[in-house]
Point group: C2
Chain length 198, copies 2
């Protein structure tokens, strides 16, 4: 809780692990890799984290914090639910270069942990839940209370699909095209005031 300019070694480790887990994957990242980035010895490592899984949990916790902050900011800055949901869709554009190289940090971590049958999979997919709950709220505010959760899951799935294919094909124009379609779809989600109910 001390406010200092330099990050603590622990924070540096979590930051480095966060990036390496994203870029190379959890299992492919060794203590040696992280230690090299932070510039500490491997032995020193175990003073801060007893196991590799503990680092993973710390990384996930850090990402949860960052995500909460981002969602809160969208909530604060977006004037209406429609534009807030648009903020979500536009991560695909803002992070396009990273997504094309390494995929979505949430989706790829979940996928990897599922394959490893890792106990932290639940915590990792909790990141999805964060977005899911937030989107659900926005869709409800948009007047789609009844199917808000289905719409949230639908949008999450669409985003994940775009990320997977963008990563596999390295296709920039595909992302642009799909984002435009997603925005059109979003517009169509608002219930028309004086129109048929279907």
């Amino acid at each position: 809780m001390t406010v200092v300019a330099d990050k603590s070694t622990r924070e540096q480790i979590v930051d480095a692990a966060d990036q390496l887990f994203y870029k190379r994957g959890f299992e492919a990242t060794s203590f040696a890799d992280i230690a090299k980035v932070v510039n500490i010895s491997r032995g020193n490592f175990y003073h801060h984290f007893k196991t590799k899984d503990e680092i993973l949990d710390a990384v996930i916790a850090a990402r949860v914090g960052q995500t909460r902050g981002m969602l809160a900011q969208w909530e604060a800055c977006g004037p209406d639910p429609m534009s807030r949901i648009r903020s979500f869709i536009h991560i695909l554009v803002a992070n396009q270069a990273l997504i094309m190289r390494h995929g979505c940090p949430v989706g790829t971590l979940s996928t990897e942990l599922a394959k490893l049958d890792h106990p932290s999979l639940k915590q990792a997919s909790g990141l999805f839940t964060l977005f899911r709950v937030w989107l659900r709220k926005q869709f409800a505010l948009l007047g789609r209370k009844a199917d808000a959760d289905a719409l949230a899951m639908h949008l999450l799935a669409r985003s994940q699909g775009v990320a997977v294919l963008a990563n596999a094909f390295h296709d920039k124009s595909f992302v642009k095209q799909e984002v435009r379609q997603l925005c059109e779809w979003l517009e169509s989600c608002a219930p028309k005031p004086a129109a048929s109910n279907r």
Copy 2:
């Protein structure tokens, strides 16, 4: 090229590696794991494959062959392009249990190889291309020649998104719901004969 009842050791290795790469991932699978399944010694291994990457290439080649066969079968059995595309969509239902546990074999392999910066990523994403080209053809036959490729990519992305979230959440009803929506979307893709052009 001999026709025998028993599979050759090489074929057994590829089969075992195929399954393990899918269930656990490429990097998390060791020679020892594969050797245990096939019931050979690790040393014997290198008589058939010089490196782990060679096995990966053989696995991808095998998957390409299987996929080609599946697409040809859909082509032969489906009476019209619409029902053929439906065959594609319904893999999500047919392989639901496996997808919920291990994700899509095509998507997860591409994702992993992208993170490892592995030279075989291109070959792995070639599996996506196989589906892409096939779907493109079906959409063209459906009368959507102009945007056939965009529709193919769109459908691929939607499927991948469903697979990623089904894997992360282990949600069966979500898959069902999205598949129904995909089928409705597919129906809407057919150009109406006597209707407006938009």
